[in-house]
Subunit: 261 residues, 2 copies
DNA sequence: CGGTTAGTTGAGAAAGCTCAACAGATGTGG
DNA sequence: CCACATCTGTTGAGCTTTCTCAACTAACCG
């Protein structure tokens, strides 16, 4: 999400569909799984898979991850209560995950950018517990869970990787709880921008200048505050010379200052 | 924690230590691992392990979980930055897990009662990311992670169980984020008491009458509010006839009312 | 080029925090 | 076993942060 890095644009180029029978029309192409460019050749593999797979493991991985799926902006990849079949890895674009209370209140529990996993919530009950919604036109790789389990019984590296992925999600959520439980609105937004900057940097994009794909309301819903407060905090950061916000374009001017907030 | 159920008291009876060499003295006995009563015979197994293990799987489980450890009230089972070696299952007593910010602010991320897991945060980086502190004198089973991984490659049931355990933790934390992000202080305390009641009921204790082992401050630190606010909310619930709090003794009078808050 | 949505800003209201006093419970040493 | 010190919990008063409601502007879309 956020940035539009030229270097990834090839990933979002439409691939000819080999989905059986179904005629290739926009409405269909959008929902239809399609052959995945192979993991073994994927530029996102370092972000997504263990670094040290052998070539035979890579080969087997290619037989597990066979398809991708396109999700248009605003559409759901899965919803709460959907049966859980597969994990997903964001390939292009970006998503938000939300949990909904019965009374309609919703909480954004995360934003996912390319290379990041989706669907881990579904393992425990066999049913998804949140909605995953595309923030822009996006693509995901589909990882059928039963096949992945089999693979993990045969490959220690892959087994360990999946455990680490899930544990990482647990740790990420703990620090989010810390954010929601102990920080002021100002500190939350600063922490959010710093986290974003770090994730971009890690992927080789600029950590200082990016493009938010989510609205002020979605940021607020993630950080536990109202959109007006988000907006005020952006203005405050601008006044203090920490950040140069221009709508969804964000330029971080003073990284250390932001960290000190 | 909370309740002192007579039915579990046998679990906390001291077992003769066979820890090699070390003389049996209080200071030592408290820290020393000791032989675990076997999983195959454990009354907590339904809460802790998959329900459908074969007898050969049970036998193998007994070779993985060989020891327990006692932790005195206020002491840590592990700390953030400790190397990760093992998962733990609470056997008797109760724990809190906390994440600490560099500036000293801390957030309680969970309370664990018998049958619940500890240490899943350590898998992702090989280092624990939180402190686990005993709320009362407690015992845990020690589950060496490398052996568990081996077991999971051999047993689908166990493999699936560990995935479910971790995913369950992810889902639990999401709903906590929802709580912290969208609810009022009153709603948070109500949700907390209801969650507690449900967990007790599930273990066969009274869901309507229990004994909190954590302080008002710890509750506040978990729910993202100050201890004074926790205390005021307890008083409010009492005035409204929902809960009969008597210090740490809690009696839930009107479960539906509490759910409606 | 209207109509709609997203973002900014202000003013007043409300929830929760801080500080402070006090009461009960708990623990400790004489 | 009591007296004293220390924690833990409760309650009140005033203050701060954030929310709510409202007006307005800019950007986007058909």
């Amino acid at each position: 999400m956020y940035a539009e890095p030229a270097c990834e644009s090839t990933l979002s180029m439409p691939t000819p569909s080999r989905w059986p029978v179904v005629p290739i029309e926009p409405a269909v192409r959008e929902a239809a799984p399609r052959p995945a460019p192979r993991c073994s050749a994927c530029s996102l593999r370092p972000a997504c898979m263990p670094p040290d797979l052998t070539s035979s493991e890579l080969q087997q991985l290619d037989t597990v991850v066979l398809t991708t799926r396109n999700v248009r902006r605003g559409e759901t990849l899965f919803r709460a209560h959907d049966p859980f079949q597969s994990l997903y890895a964001v390939r292009t674009g970006s998503f938000k995950t939300i949990v909904m209370h019965r009374d309609g209140r919703e909480q954004v529990t995360g934003f996912q950018i390319p290379g990041e996993p989706l669907g881990l919530d579904g393992v425990c009950s066999g049913t998804h517990s949140c909605d995953a919604i595309a923030l822009e036109d996006s693509t995901v790789c589909i990882i059928p869970f039963v096949q992945l389990e089999t693979f993990c019984r045969e490959s220690r590296r892959m087994q360990r990787h999946l455990y680490q992925l899930m544990s990482g999600e647990i740790v990420r959520e703990s620090s989010l709880m810390m954010l929601l439980g102990t920080m002021t609105a100002e500190q939350r937004l600063a922490a959010f921008l710093l986290d974003l900057a770090a994730r971009f940097q890690k992927r080789g994009y600029s950590g200082a200048h990016f493009n938010l794909k989510m609205s002020r309301e979605e940021i607020g819903c993630f950080l536990g505050m109202k959109l007006e407060t988000v907006s005020r905090m952006f203005s405050r950061f601008q006044r203090e010379g920490l950040v140069e916000p221009n709508g969804k374009q964000i330029r971080i001017v003073d990284l250390e200052g932001l960290a000190r907030v």
